[in-house]
């Protein structure tokens, strides 16, 4: 094997190893599309079923995965194209299991002006118990769609309701205009 081939093999192997150590079984970094959503979603379902996963957990992972990817598709500030024609938004997705706890994590750029609203919302959600989440969920569904929401405004609440082992989130400043937002759901 020539030197170039050895470096390539080692880079890819190291990446695989790093992912493996974090328990990541699916990793996608790129432009999120509805097609990707369907394709990866089906693969995750099949993989979990083959691995004898609990049916309820599989459904939960699938539900959280759909919500998270749709969040990237709707809100990622890193995009090409424009609203009039077609638009592609960029994000990172990881799905896996660590110490028997399945997780789904997504990361994408957001505009700095949206970061505070998001942080407040998630902090509030993280502090609620099951009943509190249920009440907030119904209240939000019945009300006017919240500011900035392209869906029903309950995406994060849904994720939190499914994440039996909690949610973690992080906002990392990229520059004056952008922040990198990460959300991890532990099921």
């Amino acid at each position: 094997m020539g030197l170039e081939e050895q470096v390539l093999a080692s880079e890819m192997f190291d990446l695989r190893d790093t992912l493996g150590q974090q328990g990541i079984t699916f990793c996608y970094s790129g432009y999120m599309t509805e097609g990707i959503l369907l394709g990866i979603g089906n693969a995750i379902k099949t993989q979990m079923q083959l691995g004898d996963a609990d049916a309820k957990v599989t459904k939960g992972v699938f539900a959280v995965f759909v919500e998270q990817v749709q969040n990237v598709i709707r809100y990622s500030a890193e995009k090409i194209g424009n609203e009039d024609s077609s638009e592609l938004r960029y994000g990172i997705l990881t799905v896996g299991s660590k110490d028997d706890v399945p997780f789904v994590a997504c990361g994408n750029m957001i505009e700095t002006k949206d970061a505070e609203r998001l942080r407040d919302s998630l902090t509030h959600i993280k502090g609620l118990d099951r009943d509190g989440l249920k009440a907030l969920w119904k209240e939000t569904l019945r009300g006017e769609t919240p500011e900035g929401s392209k869906g029903a405004g309950v995406g994060f609440i849904d994720i939190a309701r499914n994440a039996r082992h909690g949610i973690d989130f992080d906002f990392r400043k990229v520059d004056d205009a952008y922040v990198f937002f990460t959300l991890k759901a532990l099921l």
């Binding site: 309820k56 459904k59 539900a63 569904l141 869906g151 029903a152 309950v154 499914n162």
Partner: protein, 126 residues
């Protein structure tokens, strides 16, 4: 009002509305690309029809395997509409088919919590 029959697709529900018989059913998976576009017209037709009903016996069946949050807004909206229709003097029964102890069972029960006039019945598939 003409019956509505829409076949199930990979991301959207099967719709079977029989206005004359007052039996309605929604089944399958719901996460279409445009949720308001799917549900909007259906809800409008239902509102229009229920407004004319008095002393009617209405059965609405849900057999939902999965639905995303924008769809949930419409499902809860339907529960509220059915409750108002029952309050207006109709016998309204909501059937919720699901697997026992599944998330869907909990979802149906959560949505049915506020029902006082319409009745809610779980139907287990397993």
């Amino acid at each position: 009002m003409e019956n509505i029959k829409i076949p199930a697709e990979e991301r959207s529900l099967e719709v079977d509305f029989d206005f004359a018989a007052n039996t309605f059913s929604l089944s399958g998976r719901s996460f279409p690309e445009n949720v308001p576009e799917f549900f909007g017209p259906l809800v409008d037709k239902l509102k229009e029809h229920f407004a004319t009903q008095k002393g009617a016996r209405i059965v609405f069946s849900f057999s939902l395997v999965y639905f995303n949050s924008p769809s949930a807004k419409y499902v809860l909206g339907l529960f509220d509409l059915l409750e108002r229709t029952a309050e207006a003097g109709n016998e309204v029964k909501i059937l919720w088919a699901c697997e026992k102890d599944d998330d869907m069972q909990e979802m149906g029960e959560d949505m049915a919590e506020d029902l006082e006039s319409a009745t809610f019945e779980l139907r287990f598939l397993n």
